[in-house]
């Protein structure tokens, strides 16, 4: 292939973050361009059509489908109150009438003279979309939402669970090598996003959720613990909708792995500052990585212009992380990039690179098995 693709996760102190915040259906946009927003500011709102219910009205009131027109009191499109008589037969001399009362407030959608069924629909439910990060409205998407923009520190993880949350950052370990167990989670962590080290156990995560912690960032997590915490196995990496109180962002991968020093230092630097966290992960076309966003709304654009370099892929001296055994989790710098295909131990032929790890040892690794640490 002409292009070498090496997945890189962004861990950068200053970048321009743009978040497209749109409704699932068309609705009203409540913000304007240039307006400053907070994570909980409502950007747009709409109404979801109410639940439709199919009722076999013909059976309910004992009338042939073709005669339903004579007993239904409302026309399609008309609304009704809860408990209202929607259909009633004449009975015999006004007695023995069959009656159908509506189970909720809503409207009549349709009546079929063939099947004897009618569809009634409940009241619309209001929904809205919030800003998620602090920033300014950069653009409006008419009837759908807006784009929120801010200068921010962006830390992308490799895998996460749980949805969008925000809270102040708090460090609970002394070093990126330190694993987190239950004893680290305290009452005063309620509403915070915690910075952990190399690992978190299922029990510690459950305790955090219980204590009202908003989110946790750690280097590694165990698949076994993931199953234990969620109560099921994640088959396909599409997450974010889990109903858990505390969102989790794993920065390195599965197993106990020291959090990359740069990531740990960056998070620690902003301890006490409000941040947004989202565990949503999707690893298919249209990749979504979990993230922590620490906005700096009052920084000038120049700062990001200096730092926002385009990703250049793997180069000599690039800082890389090995992402598959036998070197999984090790960090080093590229010391050579042989152009020809090399035979691996598995006998596959692949393009490789030579890495010098932090401890000075060197190894040959397939290029597909490293990722660039973008700083």
């Amino acid at each position: 292939m002409g292009h070498v693709y090496t997945p890189g996760l962004k861990v950068t102190e200053f970048t321009k973050v743009r978040k497209t915040r749109i409704l699932p259906l068309k609705g009203n946009v409540l913000v304007s361009v240039g307006q400053e927003v907070k994570p909980d500011s409502v950007i747009a709102e709409t109404f979801l059509p109410g639940k439709a219910e199919v009722v076999n009205i013909s059976n309910k009131v004992n009338v042939e489908p073709k005669d339903l027109g004579m007993v239904i009191k409302r026309k399609p499109g008309e609304s009704f109150e809860k408990g209202e008589v929607l259909a009633q037969t004449k009975g015999i001399l006004g007695l023995f009438r069959s009656t159908y009362r509506t189970p909720f407030k809503g409207s009549l959608e349709s009546v079929s003279n063939i099947t004897g069924q009618m569809i009634i629909r409940g009241e619309p439910t209001p929904i809205n979309v919030k800003a998620y990060i602090s920033g300014k409205i950069a653009d409006i998407i008419p009837e759908e939402g807006a784009i929120v923009e801010s200068t921010a520190s962006l830390i992308q993880g490799i895998f996460g669970i749980g949805g969008e949350k925000y809270g102040k950052l708090e460090k609970i370990v002394d070093s990126p090598e330190e694993p987190v167990d239950e004893s680290y989670i305290k009452d005063e962590h309620k509403g915070k996003i915690l910075i952990g080290g190399s690992f978190i156990s299922a029990n510690a995560l459950a305790k955090a959720a219980d204590k009202g912690v908003k989110g946790i960032v750690v280097g590694g997590f165990d698949d076994k613990d993931l199953r234990e915490f969620l109560g099921y196995d994640i088959g396909v990496a599409i997450t974010g909708s889990e109903d858990i109180g505390c969102s989790l962002v794993v920065t390195e991968g599965f197993s106990e792995i020291k959090m990359a020093l740069h990531t740990f230092e960056l998070l620690s630097k902003y301890e006490g500052i409000e941040a947004s966290i989202n565990g949503a992960t999707q690893i298919r076309a249209g990749v979504i990585r979990p993230e922590v966003v620490i906005t700096h709304p009052h920084l000038s654009d120049d700062k990001t212009a200096q730092k926002d370099m385009e990703s250049k892929g793997v180069l000599l001296e690039s800082k890389v992380r090995a992402i598959r055994v036998p070197y999984f989790g090790k960090i080093g710098k590229v010391v050579s990039l042989p152009p020809d295909l090399r035979k691996l131990e598995s006998e596959s032929k692949a393009r490789v690179l030579e890495v010098e790890f932090e401890d000075g040892t060197r190894a040959i690794i397939p290029r597909a098995n490293v990722e660039v640490i973008e700083e």
Partner: protein, 607 residues
């Protein structure tokens, strides 16, 4: 478009969800052959959002490799040959942007709804869900489901002609109540194809014509005994072009470049498989195991079937294979002892970093163990779907009364002539012997079966080509597309009275040059006899009285067998293939088989 006889240079692309592949075919000495292939990342997603960029990059690579000029200065494909410039026709398939995602609906799940599903799958769709009157879901649950899924289109069937009207209309009303919105493009109506009872057309139209873009085609199950899937499939293809493709970024432009309609990738693969099966009068099974999904195609009794196992794959879905089959089932194929916690983490790490490759041999063995399970599960699904029509009245014998099986699968491993594999884990296995053993273990072919892999997955492009130039398509398929692995001979027993070492088949194979290989195959062993690609050998197989190699138990078979990169494989492990329960014995047996076929380096198996 030019007449077929005037077509000398063919350019074809397949826009996959991650890679766009281009191939160039040229006629030389009255024969069409693959000249070169190029590939580039697909550019449907942001930041590019224009599929034609990936197409031009892939074609650009073909230009570099051949020295031909195929793209003009305006950035368009030159479809007029002039010396070293241009091609005669350009065609393309696509599965980018998630392919074609459909829902199907029918009255009875096992009858019209299943026929609708078959029509959609055959057209190359991913079927997200099948709604049926008898699927045990309440109406509001069905409505919620339709809303949630947002398919590209819905195929509604139900009722034989002259049969039920009310049930079909009920389904139409449910779809209408859901007021479904298409996945792509906010401002247009969702296409719905009605292919059910003709008598219900007016009522269906009343329920759906305002809210959706409704099309009517002939009933896909006009009588219980017969399916008529073609009109529905053709309509799906038309709507795929008109609605789905037209909404995807850059496709409007691409559609003006191609000389034939852009086809969904799996639909095109189905076409080539069916063409080959028809031309050579063979029964065939093909599999494409990808990162996210596994597609299986088969032609048995002249009937084409396709299934997609949406969440069985080797990278994005690898964790799901594990979740569905369990660690034990994967590990039974692995002749090594590995730590469970570590393995589970490895699988998840592959899921979150799907582009990584096994560096160590131990990793490769483990990954190929997972592949066997993904293939096995996908094939089980395929077998249960590829059946004779359900709901047809039959005269049942007393024996049938005691049989649990209601409808027999038409997949017959004994009559199967060829098994074709494709997808990274099979096509790029470092040793071809690994691809062969993975397919044999997962599919368990019976009797005499040829094995092949599609080395660079060009079946999609050849599929579209069969529509406009069948000669070119079949020539390239036979000469350049397939890499023949050889022939597998598996005497089949009933699984009873098995004992390792029992003599189960005598063989006598006359190789090219006159040399003969003869001997006795014992139960529990597997061996290979070299026979090169393109070579054939005359063979005589005499199975024991309890064993069958195609002509019945104990019946001698004289036949010609084809060679390949692996050769002739004599598989005496019985069908179904059972591995020893006891761990030490199982590992010992696996090592013996893998050594005999030279699947992995001796050093790792002899430790």
């Amino acid at each position: 478009m030019k007449k077929p006889e005037d077509i000398n240079i063919i350019l074809a692309t397949d826009c996959g969800s991650t890679t766009t592949k281009a191939i160039l075919i040229e006629k030389k000495d009255d024969e069409y052959r693959l000249v070169v292939r190029g590939e580039a990342p697909t550019t449907v997603e942001a930041p590019f959002e224009d599929v034609t960029m990936g197409v031009l990059n892939a074609v650009g690579e073909v230009e570099e490799l051949t020295g031909k000029k195929l793209i003009n200065k305006d950035g368009q494909i030159i479809r007029q040959t002039n010396g070293d410039e241009g091609c005669d026709i350009y065609i393309s398939t696509s599965s980018a942007g998630g392919g074609l995602q459909m829902m199907c609906a029918g009255v009875v799940r096992e009858m019209t709804a299943e026929s609708a599903e078959r029509a959609a799958l055959g057209a190359g769709a991913i079927v997200m869900d099948v709604i049926a009157t008898n699927d045990n879901r309440l109406a509001h649950e069905k409505i919620e489901r339709i809303r949630q899924l947002r398919p590209d289109m819905i195929l509604l069937s139900g009722g034989i002609d002259g049969g039920t009207i009310s049930h079909v209309v009920e389904l139409a009303q449910i779809i209408g109540a859901a007021d479904p919105k298409p996945r792509l493009g906010i401002g247009y109506k969702l296409p719905i194809i009605y292919a059910g009872n003709v008598d219900a057309r007016d009522a269906v139209s009343e329920a759906l014509s305002e809210k959706t873009s409704l099309d009517m085609v002939e009933n896909l199950r006009p009588v219980l005994e017969r399916e008529n899937l073609r009109p529905a499939r053709e309509k799906i293809h038309d709507l795929f072009m008109e609605h789905v493709m037209a909404q995807a970024p850059g496709y409007k432009k691409l559609m003006t470049w191609t000389d034939a309609d852009i086809m969904p990738t799996p639909g095109a693969v189905g076409l080539i498989m069916k063409t080959i099966a028809d031309l050579e009068s063979i029964e065939i099974v093909g599999v494409d195991i990808g990162g996210a999904t596994t597609d299986i195609f088969s032609v048995f009794q002249n009937t084409f079937n396709r299934t997609v196992s949406a969440n069985l794959g080797m990278s994005y879905s690898v964790s799901n294979v594990f979740a569905e089959t369990g660690l034990e089932n994967v590990m039974r194929w692995v002749p090594l002892h590995l730590d469970e916690r570590d393995l589970r983490n490895r699988v998840k790490n592959k899921m979150v970093r799907p582009t990584t490759i096994p560096q160590s041999i131990e990793e490769l063995i483990f990954e190929q163990g997972i592949a066997r399970e993904a293939l096995r599960l996908a094939f089980l699904q395929h077998k249960s779907f590829a059946t004779t029509l359900k709901g047809v009245q039959k005269v049942r014998t007393l024996a049938d009364t005691f049989s649990q099986e209601q409808e027999a699968t038409i997949v017959n491993m004994m009559s199967l002539n060829m098994l074709v594999g494709s997808g990274g884990v099979l096509s790029h296995a470092p040793r071809r012997n690994q691809a062969a053993i993975m397919m044999i273990d997962a599919f368990q072919p019976e009797g005499i079966t040829r094995l092949a892999v599609d080395s660079i997955f060009m079946m999609p492009q050849l599929g579209v080509l069969t529509e406009i130039h069948p000669k070119a398509a079949t020539e390239v398929f036979n000469k350049d597309c397939l890499i023949h692995l050889g022939t597998c001979i598996s005497p089949t027993d009933g699984g009873r009275d098995r004992k390792d070492g029992t003599e189960i088949m005598k063989y006598n194979i006359t190789l090219p040059g006159g040399k003969t290989e003869s001997g006795t195959l014992k139960f529990g062993e597997i061996m290979k006899i070299p026979l090169e690609i393109g070579e054939t050998a005359n063979a005589v197989f005499e199975p024991g009285r309890k064993f069958d190699v195609g002509q019945g138990k104990g019946t001698k078979v004289e036949t010609e067998v084809h060679g390949g990169t692996v050769g002739i494989i004599l598989d005496g492990r019985g069908r179904p293939l059972n591995l020893p329960d006891e761990d030490v014995l199982r590992v010992e047996k696996l090592r013996e088989w893998l050594l005999s076929l030279e699947v992995y380096p001796e050093s790792i198996l002899k430790d």
